[in-house]
């Protein structure tokens, strides 16, 4: 009511100003909107359309197929396994990215070491992140090979008696792959959290100490509380990205052995570029999109609650 009357009382000049103010956010967002619409929305809409047609790409005049592809996929046992694997892979990756990222960020934020020493460690810690997925896959394949360095060290140290087929046994492959992904992804969390940690004023910790908080309490009520927005955003983004992780999985195991590391991404890829069933691949992509959207919705809701 108050706003209504205040608007009514406004002069012409301020109406103009408010119109300008209404428009300004769109001006600021226009480059983003144009880019996203042209290069992202159009292809996404095309993929959605593909998913309802039969035999796109391979057939010049595809016919409408309804929800056939969705039904086929949902009935496919391999798809269920892919969902399970993807969830395990993603959830474990996100959890450990966070745990390692935060631990390392806090270690690197310590005051007891000289800045030069910290710089050196920071560079070492960020290392796994600067390599392309192709080379990470190749490197870990070499290291986890039955005759690779990892097995050599484990057998020499008598930790295991027989060489372990890390990536080729149904028992270990998924865990090994998840481990690789954890290794290659935590620096992303670490850097953002490091920036966040350094933005926390020292007075807050001092105040907490004065209030009688112990280390655990000040960690919980100052560090975690202050970093929470960053942590939530990171976790959400990491989740979405890890669900789609393709090159690493493809080049280390190809989804095998059997279907032990079959992910939604490899499943979709095989449909598209091995079976040439682009319609079904599109349907699978749309399902991934819906899953990720649920996550995004959750995030937006959470963000709102945070405000």
């Amino acid at each position: 009511m108050i706003t209504n009357s205040s608007i009514a009382n406004k002069s012409k000049k301020s109406t103009l100003q408010s119109a300008k103010k209404k428009l300004s956010p769109y001006v600021y967002l226009s480059p983003t909107i144009i880019l996203m619409t042209v290069l992202m929305l159009i292809p996404i809409v095309m993929v959605i359309l593909y998913s309802f047609k039969d035999n796109v790409i391979m057939n010049k005049n595809p016919v409408f197929a309804g929800i056939k592809h969705y039904v086929d996929i949902i009935k496919d046992g391999t798809f269920h396994q892919a969902i399970y694997n993807t969830l395990y892979f993603t959830v474990m990756s996100v959890i450990f990215h966070f745990v390692l990222g935060l631990s390392f960020a806090m270690l690197l934020n310590t005051k007891v070491l000289k800045p030069a020493t910290k710089s050196l460690f920071r560079v070492i810690y960020v290392l796994p992140w600067v390599f392309t997925a192709t080379i990470i896959a190749i490197l870990w394949r070499l290291m986890l090979n039955p005759n690779g360095i990892i097995n050599y060290m484990l057998t020499t140290a008598n930790i295991v008696s027989n060489k372990i087929e890390w990536l080729s046994s149904t028992q270990f492959a998924l865990h090994a792959l998840t481990y690789i992904n954890i290794w290659s992804g935590y620096p992303f969390f670490m850097i953002s959290l490091l920036a966040g940690l350094q933005g926390i004023p020292a007075e807050l910790y001092e105040a907490a100490t004065i209030d009688g908080a112990n280390t655990v309490q000040s960690f919980r009520y100052v560090t975690v509380a202050k970093l929470k927005p960053i942590i939530v955003s990171m976790a959400m983004l990491d989740f979405i990205w890890t669900v789609q992780q393709f090159p690493l999985v493809w080049m280390t195991t190809g989804g095998g052995p059997i279907h032990a590391t079959e992910m939604l991404s490899t499943y979709t890829y095989k449909l598209a570029f091995s079976s040439y069933n682009f319609s079904q691949a599109s349907a699978s992509a749309v399902i991934v999109l819906i899953l990720s959207m649920c996550m995004a919705l959750f995030y937006v809701k959470n963000q709102k609650a945070g405000d």
Binding site: L167, A173, M251, G254, G255, K270, Y276
Partner: protein, 431 residues
């Protein structure tokens, strides 16, 4: 104020670069694209997409192209080289968007899919139009009685045996039958020394191990996995070949890591003397010699089932060639293809590629090359090239789905009859 001006300048500069970029893009596509309009007065530039250039000695393929350009005034060739693993994907995308190169390197396993997509041209028609005598071609990959791919050079897959390991294990005779092979593999295996008799790459990323290392056992005994062009995996002969592979695996004679192992890993294990025998491409002789000059090894034909006396099929992989359906320069493209298939050039190419020629009268020049090539050429001549996956629809997917079932079998998750039945059912979906 200064800041504002700076900001404005910066934005203006950005807009300008973007505009310039778009302009650039437009013009370069205009000149490069295979679909651009031909002009009779100007030189024609053919695009030739393949994965061969990085596989050959530096400048080797370019040199051959230069020869072609010298012989054919007015035609220029632009080589576009990509990684083997993604060539197929690039052709699919290129054909869908109409940017495919005029001439493309092909693998036999891709042909059927590209034909279905309408990506590659009917070479029979082009040959007829150009009055080409096709009897000089060693083989042509046909679908519905029309040729779509011509193998330029072929790589055969004999068995490589580490002679030193063989002597050490007290094996005096190169295995000729499956039983002998199994026995040899057992004897060669010495887990204490980290040595295994055989190696079996079954990676699902590149499932061609099914073609080269598994199904080849059936072909070597003259067995077919097809019947009237349809899958026939449940026949007794295929079953006996698969049973054989499984028995060697169960003996513990196969090097660990099979389920994610790729062809490249297989070769490294053999080169390092940890594997006694492998089925492998002749292309690797040079790599092995370069990596480990001291490795003493021989090549022999793939063992056949006991008592088999017929001709032995020998698995092979080709560097095939095809022409884009939407190329505006199909005749010029054909000139390039026939040039590569000509007796002299084909001999030259097969020599540098360490492969066998695709022209019947071409002979690779063995002088100065490894004596094993000559041996392998004799084995090749004595048998016949066999690769039943060539020309099959979604061939790679067939190998992959077979691979998955086969891994289940090796992992003792299902028995052999179920394995073949399920694989058969998977395959039938695609025919």
């Amino acid at each position: 104020m200064k800041r504002k001006i700076l900001g404005l300048l910066l934005s203006a500069a950005l807009v300008a670069t973007m505009a310039a970029g778009c302009g650039n893009g437009g013009s370069s596509v205009g000149t490069d694209s295979a679909t651009s309009a031909p002009s009779s007065t100007e030189a024609v530039t053919l695009e030739f997409t393949q994965w061969w250039e990085p596989e050959l000695a530096e400048g080797a393929l370019r040199g051959i192209m230069d020869e072609f350009e010298a012989e054919n005034a007015g035609i220029k060739v632009k080589l576009i080289s990509g990684p083997y693993a993604s060539t197929k994907q690039q052709v699919v995308a290129g054909a869908a968007a109409g940017t495919m190169s005029d001439v493309v390197g092909l693998d036999g396993a891709w042909v059927s899919d590209f034909v279905k997509q309408g990506a590659i041209a009917n070479l029979t028609e082009i040959m007829k139009k150009n009055n080409y005598e096709d009897s000089q071609l060693a083989s042509q990959i046909k679908l519905n009685n029309a040729t779509y791919m011509i193998p330029v050079v072929n790589y055969v897959y004999p068995v490589f045996i580490n002679k030193d390991l063989m002597d050490k294990a007290g094996i005096t005779k190169v295995p000729v039958t499956r039983t002998e092979f199994r026995e040899a593999a057992k004897k060669l295996t010495n887990t204490k020394n980290n040595v295994y008799g055989w190696i079996l790459p079954l990676s699902l990323e590149a499932p061609n191990g099914i073609q080269n290392d598994v199904m080849s056992w059936a072909w070597a005994s003259g067995v077919s996995m097809l019947k009237d062009g349809k899958p026939d995996l449940t026949n007794a002969e295929v079953k006996s070949a698969i049973e054989f592979v499984k028995s060697v695996y169960d003996d513990g004679s196969v090097a660990p890591g099979s389920f994610t192992m790729a062809e490249q890993d297989k070769v490294e294990e053999f080169t390092n003397g940890r594997v006694g025998m492998m089925v492998d491409s002749l292309a690797h002789i040079k790599t092995i010699r370069k990596s480990n000059p001291n490795l003493n090894f021989v090549v022999t034909a793939l063992p056949a089932k006991d008592g088999y006396t017929g001709k032995r099929g020998m698995p092979y992989a080709s560097w095939g060639i095809g022409i884009a359906e939407n190329s505006r320069h199909q005749d010029e493209s054909w000139k390039l293809v026939s040039f590569l298939m000509s007796e002299k050039i084909n001999s030259k190419l097969s020599t540098t590629a360490n492969a066998f020629p695709g022209n019947v009268s071409s002979k690779p020049d063995f002088t100065g090359t490894d004596p094993l090539f000559a041996t392998a050429f004799d084995i090749y001549k004595a048998g016949y090239p066999a690769n039943e996956f060539v020309g099959l629809p979604v061939a790679e997917q067939l190998m992959r789905s077979f691979d998955e079932q086969f891994q289940l079998l090796l992992d003792n998750k299902q028995n052999i009859d179920d394995t073949l039945k399920k694989a058969q059912a998977e395959w039938e979906k695609n025919f």
